[in-house]
Subunit: 345 residues, 2 copies
């Protein structure tokens, strides 16, 4: 069994543990945000962590009503620009805590008077040294190169922060149910392993969602790229209709993440448009209507607050990537040309 | 001759005209930014306009040292969240001025006390009605569905704003030279038309740049997707090394935008890594070193301030997309399934 699959299965307990262990550090950060009257967040991250940052942008804007900026690290590292971030929270996300450009961005922000915080899986890493507040995924070492449990635990910490800062009891209570929901979603492993056979020779695909689950589309596409070496491209449904839909011809494979919630009607609309073009439509959803439009559908066995759905819906996406890689004859734990820590100058 | 090619050729005069006509409105906006002490910009845009927004993010952060947030319009339109944007400039970009979600984002921001402005090609469009400051591309009607001259004129207005706001004389003077530089770059049309024959049957490709020219990579990829229906995926070189490089196998086509400047050494480093993997490397550059690493290279005939290079380097990218579409037997002016105005709810 690939390590990646092991680590996918560890997520119910890893997420529960991350929530438990971060109650105190997250409360301390939320207090600091209140005390300092901070109303603007900047997040620095790369790769999978940048997808967690995308979730954070949507969730914090929706729940806490503060604008969230995704930093372009090269503005600091390449162009030496000292952007004025005083009065902001600058949050760095890096599972290894070693992403050089993220560390530099936080370090520069701190000098300019920003409050800094980080989410990382590595205690004592360089990123923790430039952070006023440290939140640890506490997911245990991630041995597969493709990140899974560090992604979902990071999302859990972000949701905890949003709930704490806005004092949203519903969100906090909902978060408590996530480990069980992930456990239930693991039952999709077998049907996914069977269905991916059909996509053994797929060369490219589009991965589509809207709103909060844009993070899910991005992360799902990256997992396929890393482990199956195919060109998977993620789009927001809204951006997709602004041009890229032109590339969809008969049989073109499209993966759709469509949990219940505000974004759901848009996803049905998209599925119908894709069906008109005779695209191949793979759907991950709770609702039946969109499953009936699909070529292949996976019924997610539990319902969940849309604001937390990215923690749940990425799980079938991870399973899909892992099983697809195996079906294509690859070892998902050792993607060619990748190492666990990427240092970007 | 496709309308798209006509409109690519109109760009030297369109850009010169856009600069001339926007000196007064941009000065008025810069004054308002100074007077109101605004230190945070939020930009709402979709599709090609979102790539212009990406350029604006880098340029304004580097030149004006203010954080720039790319809005997720669905936060407003789908989730009804009233993000607190008082004290911000909220800038909408839409060539048609009709992008519903961009209009809604500006309208909501204005009610919450933000200063609003827009860049559009359509006088009197809905977007102008929710904007305190209006900057017009004045590019004339764009008849091809694939946007070209509205993109470069938008970039010119952004550069003018950055120069004016920061009082950067070098940037302003440099901008004056852009129309002639674009004119010179049009000489690449013929060599590009010949070279694209080699890529007649290409099914997918990666488009790579770093820093300021990430906008160029995104826009170049979108032009190919829209007109040649192939899966072109843009990456920042830094993100690419964090995972996606795994998909590069022998002969995998990669387009690299590598103007002189701070990002150039990273692009050489990337080209060497791709060469090790025997990838097919197409380079657009001024410097010879990286051209020598490439499989096919286009020598951009003029040098330019890196901060303005996205206005110049997209031109061979547009030519490439247009000629490639023709070589593949498509009409670049009428992409299947697309219309000029996309309305997203």
């Amino acid at each position: 069994m690939p390590l990646m699959l092991d680590e996918i299965y560890e997520q119910p307990s890893a997420v529960a543990n991350a929530i438990e262990r971060n109650i105190t550090p997250v409360a301390a950060l939320a207090n600091a945000l209140h005390e300092q009257g901070i109303r603007h967040i900047v997040i620095a991250a790369r790769g999978t962590s940048d997808h967690a940052a995308t979730y954070a942008k949507y969730l914090l804007e929706i729940v806490c009503k503060v604008p969230v900026t995704l930093a372009a690290p090269s503005v600091t590292t390449l162009y030496d620009a000292q952007v004025n971030l005083s009065g902001c929270l600058v949050l760095g996300i890096s599972q290894s805590g070693q992403a050089t450009d993220v560390v530099q961005t936080l370090s520069a922000a701190r000098s300019s008077g920003a409050l800094t915080a980080c989410i990382t899986n590595k205690e004592g890493s360089p990123l923790t040294e430039v952070s006023d507040h440290v939140m640890l995924c506490s997911a245990g070492e991630e041995r597969s190169v493709a990140a899974t449990k560090t992604y979902t635990t990071t999302l859990a910490i972000i949701a905890l922060l949003a709930a704490q800062w806005s004092n949203d009891t519903g969100l906090r209570e909902g978060l408590r149910t996530v480990p069980d929901a992930i456990q239930a979603a693991l039952s999709l492993s077998e049907p996914i392993a069977e269905t991916v056979q059909r996509y053994r020779y797929m060369e490219e695909c589009a991965v589509l969602a809207r709103g909060l689950n844009q993070a899910t589309a991005l992360e799902s596409a990256l997992k396929m790229i890393e482990t199956s070496y195919l060109l998977a491209k993620a789009y927001s449904m809204a951006d997709f209709l602004h041009g890229p839909i032109a590339m969809v011809s008969e049989g073109f494979p499209c993966l759709l993440y469509a949990p219940n919630g505000r974004a759901y009607p848009s996803m049905v609309e998209l599925a119908l448009k894709l069906k008109e073009k005779n695209a191949e439509i793979v759907v991950f959803a709770r609702a039946e209507e969109i499953q009936e439009i699909a070529t292949r559908a996976f019924a997610v066995p539990v319902d969940i607050d849309e604001r937390l759905s990215p923690l749940l819906y990425i799980v079938p996406g991870q399973l899909w990537a892992c099983h697809l890689a195996v079906a294509r004859g690859h070892n998902p734990d050792k993607p060619r040309g990748l190492s666990k820590v990427t240092l970007t100058r």
